[in-house]
Symmetry: C2
Subunit: 251 residues, 2 copies
């Protein structure tokens, strides 16, 4: 029944996996920035995506309060992990302290992020190319995981990054990777969703494949599957999927 | 399809009512504070209540990161208004810029806030009296309402306060006021819930009566009814309720 920092536990693999899942499965987040005129903290809501290296990305209007703030001071804090029924504080949430980097348009990074973002937020295609919209990469510096009452952990920024030599290659061939995965198991998206407590009756699709796992998506629902070990080659991803099958209940 | 500050509209009565409802019907909020050691913004989650004058209140552990931050710098930002299905940015949300005041234990204010908080968060009775827990009143200084795409408004802190000579009297006789309301209409809680799109099949109770309106609560669900005009006497509340009946569909 304590709050965030009462007892900091030793950060273990389970805590890291929970933290990564909370960050990478969040469709939106509360973002805290510093108001340039007043120095006040300012909390608002942003749509969230992830880059191929696990870095959270936001798509924002240049006219918004948080964008003006980040242009003046790149320090930002993201709160992810939404409560469901019952006591809101019983649900795990993650505070990620980040430094924001504006993403240049017409760059390879922009193209990569734009593709990944649209595969998660299809409706953003209505405004993603408006001239006043831009992406920020929010580079994690550290994080505080609150896994529910009395379960607090401190993480390094690097705990939330995906460190793999195959990042670029996987990003460039994401569509092909998804096709290969579905060739391995045409029912992979639905099985993964069910393994992560998603509804069986929905149409699930694979999106956001990276070297640490992949997302399954159905309309507003987004679930994240994390591999046990980060893939260092594209082939590693297929091996992880093949191993994974046995831990998913057959439907 | 613009973000927060693209076009600030003129703040009208409808915007004020929406902002008040977003703040007063929130069971929890994202809070942004300033980390004392680093100056970084820090976002976390808090349970939310309201004091009799409309001031939002939080119950926090003295060991938590946000409490340590507020002790060093009272500036805080609250984000309320949770998305439901569909595009998260299509839902209204409110950012309230506040100055935090610690509430002294064994004061009349503490007793008043404690009673109101427990009527909203019954489970908090497990830890509300722990010696390291305390309340802060978060006095609104200003607020930004984002009513969905292209509907941005700026509010004064006073727009979110309940200014009435009857505040103290209503707080002291809250149980009697609820009894009187139920004598006027035994079905008032359920009718109010239905008028505010709550589920008809649940058991609804009245809680949190104040001079600007009242809450109806059923387990995790909290809905807020705002009067058209702030009551200046306890009798005014009964008149508002009697007038209100006609705007609620008969079941």
């Amino acid at each position: 029944m304590k709050d965030q920092a009462s007892v900091i536990r030793e950060t273990d693999g389970e805590a890291r996996r929970l933290a990564r899942t909370l960050l990478r499965s969040a469709r939106y987040a509360a973002i805290a920035v510093i108001e340039p005129e007043t120095g006040f903290p300012f909390a608002s809501r942003v749509l969230l995506g992830t880059d191929i290296d696990g870095v959270p990305v936001i798509l924002v209007s240049g006219l918004s309060a948080h964008t003006r703030a980040l242009n003046a001071d790149p320090r930002a804090s993201l709160l992810t992990g939404e409560p469901r029924k019952g006591d809101p504080l019983a649900y795990a949430r993650l505070t990620t302290q980040c430094l924001a980097e504006s993403v240049e348009r017409d760059s390879a990074v922009h193209t990569r992020i734009r593709t990944r973002f649209l595969s998660r937020h299809a409706k953003a295609k209505l405004y993603i190319d408006f001239p006043d919209f831009r992406f920020f990469r929010l580079i994690p510096q550290s994080a505080s995981l609150n896994g529910g009452f009395g379960r607090a952990y401190i993480l390094d920024g690097s705990d939330l990054m995906i460190l793999s030599a195959a990042n670029e290659a996987v990003a460039e061939s994401a569509d092909a990777v998804v096709r290969d995965l579905l060739a391995l198991d045409p029912d992979l998206a639905r099985k993964t969703a069910i393994a992560h407590k998603g509804r069986a009756g929905l149409d699930w699709a694979i999106s956001g494949v990276d070297c640490a796992g992949f997302d399954v998506i159905s309309g507003d629902f987004l679930l994240r599957h994390e591999f046990d070990v980060t893939a260092q080659t594209r082939q590693d991803i297929y091996s992880h999927i093949s191993n994974m099958k046995y831990s998913i209940p057959e439907i």
